[in-house]
């Protein structure tokens, strides 16, 4: 229909630009990659300027001309949280120059995320961290894939909750990504050995109930190093050892089954009948006791999850020197999260030196 209209051929040109560009000088400027959208700003009458985290190319700034026109090849395509396959003409050398989007397709759509506000907030947090990490240049494939895994899990949980089924707490998904993010930046906290001298920390269950932890030193400390560094003025936190063990368990729970087990839920089998499972437990993991199911001893929920969240927040803030905005919002909702002996958020003593 309507193929006689001139507009169609230009749409065709947008949808299959590679055909048009093939054999021309432009072909060498064409790049393509799998991307997640970090931000978008309307530009002109119908265009969008988008910032992307590209799997192999890092931060990319593009202009998507006519993105808001209904007959554009990418009308409605450039949305948050979806994995997109885009191709674009590389930007010129000028500072601040934008690449130009030529074609795009939806690789993974995560459309239920926004239907569940808790999942939505955590998903924005994932993008916010990517935005802080993204640099122009080579991408970070491992980080990109963990971000996709986090968004997948959040979308899956949101879909489940829309069907009134149990799902793992989005906070657990978000915290796992936070820790993975720190690891990707080379900032993973030392959890089972002393960050300063490398000595093995007490084994789970056999050691002390509390342990010293210094973000500036890079993590957990043995008692000797803690005393020494503290005398030099370094901020040393006093944490429950179990908290660090929980963080290690969370990092190890890379697939859905392991993550859900940590949240005290059986992972749904791929063929699970969602109706039969409806109302089988709490709608959100409301903590031990709220569900008839017996949670495993190592379950990470309720106050333990809140304490872990608080600790990860403080560690992230220390390294990023900023507090991601979505994080502040999510903390306002979790008013019960507080760590015993936590330094006040407003004014933790400034670490005097960085030991790493």
């Amino acid at each position: 229909m309507g193929r006689a209209f001139g507009g169609k051929s230009s749409v065709l040109g947008r949808v299959w630009p590679t055909l048009g560009a093939m054999g021309t000088a432009n072909a060498s400027r064409l790049e393509q990659d799998r991307v997640l959208l970090l931000a978008r700003v309307p530009f002109g009458e119908s265009s969008l300027v988008v910032q992307l985290f590209a799997r192999d190319r890092g931060r990319v700034h593009l202009i998507a001309r006519g993105a808001y026109r209904a007959n554009s090849g990418y009308a409605g395509l450039l949305d948050l949280f979806d994995s997109l396959e885009l191709s674009w003409h590389r930007a010129g050398q000028a500072h601040g120059a934008l690449g130009e989007l030529r074609a795009g397709a939806l690789a993974v759509r995560r459309k239920h995320l926004a239907q569940d506000l808790a999942s939505y907030g955590r998903a924005l947090g994932v993008l916010e961290l990517l935005d802080l990490a993204a640099r122009v240049g080579p991408g970070d494939r491992a980080l990109f894939e963990r971000a996709e895994a986090a968004l997948d899990e959040l979308d899956f949980g949101a879909t489940r909750r829309l069907d009134d089924c149990v799902a793992v707490d989005p906070e657990l998904v978000a915290l796992r990504f936070d820790l993975e993010f720190l690891g990707a930046l080379g900032l993973a906290p030392a959890l089972d050995r002393c960050a300063s001298c490398g000595r093995q920390a007490p084994l789970p269950g056999t050691g002390l109930a509390r342990t010293a932890f210094a973000p500036a030193a890079g993590g957990r400390l043995c008692q000797r190093c803690a005393a020494h560094l503290q005398s030099e003025g370094m901020a040393v936190w006093d944490l429950e050892s179990a908290l660090l063990e929980a963080a290690a368990a969370l990092l190890a729970a890379r697939d859905r089954e392991a993550l859900w087990a940590l949240g005290g839920l059986p992972a749904p089998s791929p063929r699970a009948d969602s109706q039969a499972e409806a109302h089988a437990g709490t709608l959100l993991t409301g903590g031990p006791g709220s569900s008839g199911r017996k949670a495993p001893a190592a379950t990470l929920s309720g106050p333990r999850l809140a304490a872990l969240g608080d600790w990860v927040d403080r560690f992230l803030e220390h390294h990023l020197e900023t507090r991601p905005k979505s994080r502040g919002a999510r903390r306002r909702h979790a008013a019960n999260s507080s760590l015993p002996n936590a330094p006040h958020r407003g004014g933790p003593p400034r670490p005097s030196a960085s030991a790493n």
């Binding site: 309507g2 065709l12 007959n71 409605g76 949305d79 979806d82 459309k111 506000l117 924005l124 905005k325």
Partner: protein, 217 residues
């Protein structure tokens, strides 16, 4: 590093705006210092802030309170269309497709951009519905993730307040005048999910066979 205090304040003021980072804020501030038209900008901002009010009924910026749309007795008070921005009201009015009343949130839920539930003044909307007369609330936020989250937020606020009102969402799907072969997966999925029965009339009660009485001649 340290600018004179008035310049630093100007940079900080620009930086508060959405999409403006430190670097852009600095560029804008230097531009203000260079360009004599900046005084006109300052007066325009001052004028807008002192001469415009937010309509106490719908939340839209207006010259008087209530705004013209809210004061118009011809409009249908039973339908309330909730939108994100004043320009959405503009677009709908230009299109002349809606004769009900509006509610403007002045934003979309995005905590990462500093827009949280409390910025959207949902309490005002809930109170407006509670006062009665509204039969249907139409959620007309943008069809993107932020718009969907905002629609969800409004829905939950209405449900939490136990208001008995019909809540609907503007349809997603095929853009009129387009062609299926050029649309991407997301649009096609939405269109399939949001499909509607072609026949408007329901079969008369008691008859289960479809289309018996309303088959066109």
């Amino acid at each position: 590093m340290a600018y004179p205090e008035p310049l630093e304040r100007l940079v900080a003021a620009f930086e508060c705006f959405p999409g403006v980072g430190r670097r852009s804020a600095e560029r804008l501030a230097f531009h203000v210092l260079r360009d004599p038209k900046a005084r006109e900008l300052a007066r325009a901002i001052e004028g807008a802030l002192s001469n415009l009010v937010r309509c106490s009924v719908c939340g839209n910026p207006a010259a008087k309170d209530p705004c013209e749309l809210c004061a118009d007795p011809e409009r249908d008070g039973a339908q309330l269309l909730v939108v994100e921005e004043p320009r959405d009201v503009e677009a709908l009015e230009r299109a002349r497709v809606f004769r009900g009343r509006y509610h403007v949130l002045l934003g979309a839920m995005n905590p990462a951009q500093g827009v949280d539930a409390r910025h959207l003044a949902l309490g005002r909307l809930v109170e407006r519905i509670r006062r009665g007369g509204i039969e249907e609330v139409i959620l007309g936020t943008d069809p993107d993730q932020e718009g969907e989250a905002t629609a969800r937020l409004v829905l939950e606020a209405i449900e939490d307040a136990r208001l008995s009102v019909r809540v609907t969402r503007l349809a997603r799907g095929l853009p009129a005048g387009s062609a299926i072969e050029y649309l991407h997966r997301g649009v096609l999925e939405d269109a399939l999910e949001g499909r509607v029965p072609l026949r408007r009339r329901a079969p008369p009660a008691g008859k289960t066979a479809p289309g018996r009485d309303d088959t066109p001649a």
